[in-house]
Symmetry: C2
């Protein structure tokens, strides 16, 4: 489809310009103050056009348990999540749709889904998520979450004996599974990308990372992983490698310009230097880092060191929303408390660039995605500036990023195709989805999580917290 | 109006109950699993009933400049605000309406408006805000913001000479103004309350505080103030008093069970003990504290010391929204990063209690406002749990507080009167307000703030920041 958005505000290095933006096929083909209309004319008056944001780290199926897990740190929160996790592929399909809807209606056009696989139904899980993303039309980066060590290995031993059960699937079988997924689902030309994505150093052997590197090179895949989300993981890395997790990942060759790393809360200055050297991307998940008490990632230091940073919502059981504008707002202003010099603070315009171009760079698409410029992919979001939550009129991007916009997304195009028109998703039946999510769920009344308590003693000891019974 | 909400979920100490809630006049008159309908029957099925929240600190007229002010710390942000502040009473009326709409549609039923007064039109300013709040029907605590020292006195001198112009109005005239406002507008029985509210120690003499205490006692008024929002204010207090601001306010008698104090970021342990002893209330404004880089208030310490804490949005130029659910979410989870022991973290149910009963206590209405209980004032909010942003169904309060709810407020009653029905404000024309806000404003293109630069040198020196030219 060709179309021309007329008289629309776009940001410039300083301030705004009112322009026409012409799209032919899947690309922006012209930007000027007056263009002859090509294809459909779209009224851009009183609207702001931005490149689509990238929800650069989430776990879509966690939507089934959002709002439910008590206030716990990651390691115990995971135990609680395991208590309630059994899902089926149909649920995965629905939560992928739900994640995509919330992402799109908060300005996102791409999602990186670090997808939790149903044991024994791994390929069906991936197929269900891919089906959902194709139907709604979001640019989808599906990163099957794999590990090859058992859950208990993810908490530092603190010197106690390590004697964990083997993981139920071998490393070789896991790598084979990823390769099958690549062959079946990796279709960059159609907007579906498979990533290699070990969950992180806490539950992965070097053999798994190395196998993923090999697949990444053979099939030109991006790489993804959690990295140093918690202090416990920093301690675990020292136990496991005798060096920092970043040093180890560099040594085995996992870090690269097509590697994006979620969280990155517990890095030291020399780790930061390694991320800059290797051109790795940090995916900042501020809300999840707060909810789980993981800490405040040193985002201003990353930016000063030249490390590319972008934003993710993280899974909806640790946020508990998939609203990108919320993640971008908090992921910007949170850091004003970490550096007294306001010249280093992230401006709203910089936040927009981090969320769009920053995300594209981390997915090795920085040349063609994430900006309003001729030749770029037409992943575009048109915001309605007459919405009450963006009034009175002041600075459009300031209002969008620092405010709390509600229902401000007017139109969305992804790869040149219209996904949202007049505030409504056109490609799927959102009300039908709402009814499915309602009918397949229940309100819990004081639900208990039996797996948490047995892990608490070890966790509290390792983390130097007072004995549970004394609290 | 009498009415009975049937089959509605309400929270209990553990989990939820499904009940009927009966309201006669302005009070809750019955709660039981089945009640005979009194007055209108309201369908509560698939809905959650909570006490209304209190937006316990804001400056309504800042709505005119939200999204506009660059990323600056409070002292320089104020200089920027002064560059763009001239308003007229009609604007004050409209921004008070806008503030009330956003507060109500995010679960609030009361607002504490620390109202910036137009010089020379002080009573007109108050009249305009009161008119707006009466029209929409929100419970309104109007706290005319007063000072008796000039703007420059608010930044520490760092040893340089203090030679500031006198403030344009005398302390006596200011106290007289407040007394006139009390006589004209203070009508607790009609839901309009005047508070005494010096802006804070940074711009107020002891004479102003003492005059306010006297008025507070004579007319039974609550007391409000900013307190130690920034490190600069902590330094200033030491310069001014030779002790902490809290010690000084205690000494002059400003702290009491009817005193609420906004921000409270830079208090030490002995200050916290004083707040507990005096039964003062802390109003936590997390988003503004992040946006201005003021710091992270020690909220978990306050709670452990027995200090009452509630939430505010703060003015919309430093947030830049009036969404209470956002303030409550961030004001809860932010503190998980400040204490490794998750047993101290604020749960969603505790956050609800802080936002409702906590706010009422700070306004000396703890006996009759802020809970779902027989005899309490009927300031009630009914949430629609079938909204997509609250699905799948899990834990209703977890979803509401930890998620990012959008358009979930179904009905609101304040003092027993219905303000919102089926998601729409019934008492004012919201679309007309939207059009007024649009037509009376403009998009700025790269606006400059001339007052900031002259203040930067002193600010940077006092705060130990590198010279501006070297940045």
């Amino acid at each position: 489809m060709n179309f021309t958005i007329q008289n629309v505000l776009i940001p410039q290095a300083e301030g705004y310009a009112t322009v026409d933006v012409e799209i032919e096929g899947d690309r922006i083909s012209g930007i000027a103050s007056h263009l002859e209309v090509v294809g459909t004319a779209v009224d851009g008056q009183n609207k702001l056009l931005l490149p689509g944001f990238i929800n650069a780290h989430t776990h879509s199926s966690e939507m089934w348990h959002r709002g439910l897990i008590p206030m716990l740190p990651l390691e115990l929160w995971l135990a609680a999540l395991y208590d309630i996790t059994p899902l089926d592929p149909e649920q995965v399909y629905l939560s992928a749709l739900g994640t995509a809807v919330e992402t799109i209606l908060s300005g996102g056009t791409s999602v990186v889904d670090h997808l939790v696989l149903i044991p024994g139904k791994e390929l069906e899980t991936i197929a269900a998520a891919v089906k959902a993303y194709r139907e709604i039309g979001i640019r989808a980066f599906v990163a099957p979450l794999v590990q090859d060590e058992s859950f208990a290995a993810g908490v530092p031993s603190g010197g106690s004996e390590k004697n964990y059960a083997a993981y139920f699937r071998s490393t070789a079988a896991t790598l084979e599974l990823i390769e099958t997924a690549v062959k079946q689902f990796h279709r960059p030309d159609e907007g579906v990308y498979i990533l290699v994505a070990p969950t992180g150093i806490q539950l992965s052997t070097d053999a798994l990372f190395e196998g993923c590197i090999e697949l990444s090179e053979r099939y030109d895949l991006c790489r993804h992983s959690h990295l140093l989300e918690t202090l416990a993981q920093q301690l675990l890395a020292q136990e496991k490698y005798g060096c920092s997790a970043v040093e180890h990942l560099k040594e085995i060759g996992y870090l690269s310009h097509k590697t994006s790393l979620a969280h990155c809360v517990w890095l030291n200055d020399s780790d930061i230097e390694i991320l800059a050297q290797t051109q790795s991307t940090v995916v900042h998940n501020p809300l999840s880092n707060l909810r789980l008490g993981s800490g405040i990632a040193p985002i201003l230091k990353y930016r000063q060191a030249g490390v590319n940073v972008t934003f993710g919502c993280d899974g909806a059981s640790s946020n508990d929303s998939q609203d990108l504008l919320e993640a971008i707002k908090i992921g910007s202003i949170l850091h004003n408390t970490t550096d007294r010099d306001y010249h280093h603070w992230i401006t709203p315009l910089q936040a927009v660039e981090m969320a769009s171009k920053g995300g594209a760079i981390g997915l090795n698409l920085g040349d063609e995605l994430g900006a309003i410029a001729v030749g770029q992919k037409a992943d575009l979001v048109l915001y309605n500036l007459t919405n009450l939550s963006l009034l009175p009129r002041t600075d459009p991007i300031g209002l969008l990023i620092l405010g709390r916009p509600t229902q401000v997304v007017h139109s969305v195009w992804i790869d040149g195709k219209q996904i949202v028109a007049d505030g409504k998703v056109k490609t799927i039946n959102v009300d039908g989805l709402r009814q499915e999510l309602f009918s397949r769920s229940q309100w819990y009344n004081n639900l208990q999580f039996p797996s948490v308590s047995p892990m608490e003693e070890r966790y509290r000891t390792v983390m130097g917290l007072p004995d549970k019974s004394s609290v």
